[in-house]
Amino acid sequence: MRIGTLEAGPGEKVFGRLKATETHGGFAVDIPLHIVRGAVDGPTLLVQAGLSGLEIEPSMALPGLVKELDPVELRGTVVVVPLLNTSGFEFEQINAVWDDMHLNRLGAGRADGTVSECLVHTYYHQVVGRADALLDIRTGAQWSYHSYAATYAAGNAEGSRALAAALGLPHVLTGLPADTTLASAASTGGRLVVSAWIGGGPGLRDYRSEDMGRIRLAALNALRHLGMLPGTPEGEVAQLLGAGAVVGLPTERGLTFMDQRKRGQTVAAGEPIGHVRHPFTGATVAQVLAPKAGVLLHAGAVWPVVPEGEPLAIVGEPIEMEGI
């Protein structure tokens, strides 16, 4: 397996940086990645994280997973990118600092675009394009907290759903419509693509070890599901949910309090699932209502000051599928 100047022979692990482009000031824009190549040929799984510079918890778990993997026991190749957006991480912001673009809103990127578009283009074609399956690990940055997996309607939807159900997370949200994310772009064709949303800053103090464990388990379960490691997936049995309704901020802004006790529970259409208080008088100025009946995922913002555009919750309808 060769990616850029990095090459791993059978039974080898390598770490290095894939050069993507350069800024006008001469800073190299590159992508740190690991290649773990099994002794025996097999599929290629890409585990990626950190497209937002504030989604950094996977970088505390994935390097440990790489150390744990024994290439001799592995069939196929694992490519691990613990933190793609290195400049956003450096400057503690969501977007890449070079052009203030969100790396996960550029699809497959552009070869003749801005620094971020070039970065994503190189990554998509030299890394994503080599993978049979993509495990896209997301997290809640500093204001949200999550525990679910999601798959797109496009591409190998059935295979992606099965992979998602194997990760050990409580819910799998299926049938997402196409969007501008890299995962969405990658989901075209026969590739298996799952976004696994795990953890986030508001739980970092008390649930750090659990969340790190879920990230590790999700990756190991993906390897087991793909037959790259022996054994069967472990963890929670996932409840499958149809394409969800995303709940955003109500028109009235203020301090937003979501009812965390309802996460994972069935809610009725119109049921209050949170409320907004005036930040200075304390009066309740809006209710956050479930847009439809279904299961409230372990998803969304929990810190009371919610950035614009950040989902508060996702409601999905339970579905049954054969073979999952």
């Binding site: 103090r205 008390d206 965390q260 200075f280 929990v302 810190w303």
Partner: protein, 343 residues
């Protein structure tokens, strides 16, 4: 009572915005203020939140408190300010991006200074100086978690001033099981706090809660913060009722050990827990490479001490302290201590 452009008659609660300044674009970061003028005379308590804009646990507690306080049963006045730094609150930031300043460091402010200087000037002269006691809520914003009462070091602990004696009681009355003071000049000379004390205002600071503990502890932190406000009112004999606390004891630490980030940067992972005794030379935390997981540096403790409930939890840190440790200065017992103060 009158605070700038706001006024409340005895037995009234009024809410409004204290006019403080205007930015060049016309932004008015006027400060939201609740005035409770008690039906009976008495001292004045100021409770304030979010002078660092992202530190909102106290803000929520103050919002709960103002909905429950009845001025008809109050002796004295309460000035409740849920958010002092509105620009910082808007952006979830410590300071004010309007001029890059930290309002908490500017008192007494300047009438003809930058926007934050003007805010500090009006706030100091119209609000702070009216108070006998100021309770200032801080927290860990989105990236840390804390749980103690902070107060200033005493000039001569064997011969405390009248203000210091009152402060000792208020620190314990608030109800947390831990409190701390920093030796002078630990974080530089804070002339703003000195200015407030010179005005005769007794001040305590809460370092309580924060974003990284929000999922599990958020509701409890808010409840404890509000409980503390009521306790301070009881201590000042402004309302009736029994004190409520974490327990009978309050351990007071001399926070003499501040650990800083080393030159090398990476992901900070704290390895010691609140309340844990750490010997000199032992590892407090590590910095690891975010891509390989390799250890880049160890942060070692400099003196035998106990971890005070404070500090960074989010793995990326700026030029800031990553740990505060201290020795037990004293243990106060609420069962035997007189918790009442008079003004």
């Amino acid at each position: 009572m009158k605070v700038g452009n706001l006024e409340a008659q005895p037995g009234e609660h009024t809410f409004g915005y204290l006019e403080v300044a205007k930015s060049r674009s016309g932004l008015s970061p006027d400060i939201p203020v609740h005035l409770f003028a008690g039906a009976e005379p008495g001292p004045t308590l100021l409770v304030q939140g979010a002078i660092h804009g992202g530190e909102i646990i106290g803000t929520i507690a103050i919002l709960n408190f103002v909905q429950r306080l009845d001025p008809a049963t109050l002796c004295g006045n309460v000035i409740a300010v849920p958010v002092v730094n509105r620009v910082g609150f808007e952006l979830g930031e410590r300071g004010s991006r309007v001029d890059g300043k930290d309002i908490s460091r500017l008192f007494p402010g300047k009438a003809k200074g930058s926007v934050s200087d003007q805010i500090a000037h009006t706030y100091f002269h119209e609000v702070i100086r009216q108070a006998n006691v100021k309770v200032d809520f801080h927290a860990g914003a989105r990236t840390a978690y804390e749980r103690y009462v902070l107060f200033g070091a005493e000039g001569d602990p064997s011969n405390p001033t009248e203000l210091e004696l009152k402060r000792r009681k208020l620190v314990v009355a608030f109800g947390l099981d831990q409190a701390a003071f920093f030796p002078p000049n630990t974080f530089g000379n804070n002339t703003a706090k000195e200015t407030i004390e010179e005005a005769g205002v007794v001040q305590i600071t809460l370092e309580l809660g924060g974003g990284t503990g929000w999922v599990k502890n958020g509701e409890e932190n808010v409840a404890v913060a509000e409980r503390g406000i009521w306790n301070i009112l009881r201590s000042m004999r402004m309302v009736d009722g029994a004190f409520e606390a974490d327990g009978p004891l309050c351990t007071v630490y001399n926070a003499g050990v501040v650990l800083w980030k080393p030159d090398v940067d990476g992901l900070f992972i704290r390895q010691r827990s609140f309340g844990e005794h750490v010997k000199a030379g032992e590892v407090y935390g590590t910095l690891v490479d975010p891509y390989t997981g390799d250890e880049l540096a160890q942060i070692r403790n400099t003196r035998d001490a106990i971890v005070i409930p404070s500090g960074q939890e989010w793995p990326t840190i700026g030029a800031t302290s990553v740990g505060i440790l201290g020795a037990v200065d004293r243990v106060e017992d609420r069962r035997t201590m007189d918790l009442y103060v008079s003004f």
